[in-house]
Symmetry: C2
Subunit: 254 residues, 2 copies
């Protein structure tokens, strides 16, 4: 089995924003599908793991693009595993135009495997006698020329928007789905921001699960052309809720 | 060219709700893609029409299902044109499991073609010397055994929820996209409603466009186990805004 999985998609009319470019959330969804396909085809898919009471959990996702695919373009995603540690694995992505081969950009992600009942992390190397190590492609073998996920500082101030969560936000596990957080983050910005700037780099860290009906407080702070975002559970009626951090994110605009 | 277009999709993990079944909005998106594929392959696609300054506008959509596709299932959509009148065309859909052939349900839709500049409707029969008539499959030739779109009464009372629209709601034309209205409508209902009831039939009529930044007032009234919904532009600060009707919809639960 090849170490690289190639996944194709076309940019559909309802998946582009008002500039005619793919929504970042939809791109994220395609990356996660590609990841799912890669692990499924190698015996490590969620459907296979569930039988063993384990599941993959996305911990970090970083996407860096020189160009966002436009409506009707055909896109090819390559995905592979760069490293496996005891509790985490790094999975990378290359995103290119399937017709002319030009590269839109790259993505990096970090995943843990947890026991679905105890929610405790599993030892990736011990599982299946280290079978997963057979699929590793090191940075020398297959480079991913974007920076790794950097630390995002906790926010203290900034504007706050409270967002209620609904039926459409939730996945099969009853958790707010990873992609919906991306949509809600992009919805914080007015038309002009999206009109005049393109997202060059997007980093997101998933810290805690939130659930259908949770109110989420979005803190947003701008520093040097970057936006730092922190999503916390909105507890009580205070304007600056002290609830758990659910998501941290950083946007770099061009 | 065959009069029926067949379109395939798989039910992806992030496209299912907490019961493990496809989101109705995602199904709607697939139906619209199938429609786009059908008309494109026959020379009537939006991309081709745009050169002639015309575009398709969805006016009505009715979906009736005995079962909603579940996660990882493979779905096959057939679509065809049942009739063409001067200003409207009726397009139907059959939705079935691609592996065992069982039928999930059917859908009906009504489309107009408008001039993108004047927004006036075009005469479908006069265009291209009536070429579109070559693709008609009458109700006798290809039955669609669900009722046509019925009249939805205007609402006078009911609960009101005001929803602000954001970047993610808007399509390439700057309009709130047809699918997002469906999502927002389903988000009106609490977890219990979705847990205990399945949507058997969903009717939606698109009356007027709304735009990024519009506040939309959702009126919802229950009569005899059905929900009638009216979305109006929320103008002024009144609780019962008198703005234009954007969408009317009806949900029948099982």
């Amino acid at each position: 089995m090849d170490k690289i999985e190639t996944y194709h998609f076309a940019v559909e009319p309802f998946h582009v924003d008002f500039t005619g470019h793919l929504f970042l959330g939809v791109l994220g969804n395609h990356l996660l599908n590609a990841a799912g396909r890669h692990s499924h085809n190698r015996g490590w898919g969620i459907d296979q793991l569930n039988e063993n009471h384990y599941t993959w959990v996305l911990s970090r996702l970083s996407i860096e693009l020189t160009e966002m695919p436009a409506q009707y373009e055909h896109v090819e995603v390559e995905t592979w595993v760069e490293s496996v540690m005891k509790l985490f694995t790094e999975r990378n992505f290359l995103i290119r135009n399937a017709d002319d081969g030009r590269i839109y950009g790259y993505a990096r992600s970090i995943w843990a495997m947890i026991d679905v009942e105890t929610r405790h992390p599993a030892d990736l190397i011990a599982l299946h006698d280290g079978d997963i190590l057979r699929y590793v492609l090191t940075a020398e073998e297959k480079p991913c020329p974007i920076a790794k996920f950097g630390r995002i500082k906790p926010l203290l101030g900034g504007d706050t928007v409270v967002v209620a969560t609904h039926y459409s936000d939730v996945d099969i596990n009853g958790h707010i789905n990873s992609i919906k957080y991306i949509e809600h983050i992009l919805d914080l910005f007015p038309r002009e921001q999206h009109e005049q700037h393109r997202i060059r780099r997007f980093d997101i860290a998933y810290k805690t699960e939130s659930y259908l009906g949770d109110d989420l407080a979005f803190f947003c702070e701008e520093t040097a052309g970057e936006h730092h975002i922190e999503i916390r559970k909105h507890v009580g009626s205070s304007e600056k809720p002290a609830g758990e951090v659910v998501v941290q994110a950083k946007l770099v605009w061009e």
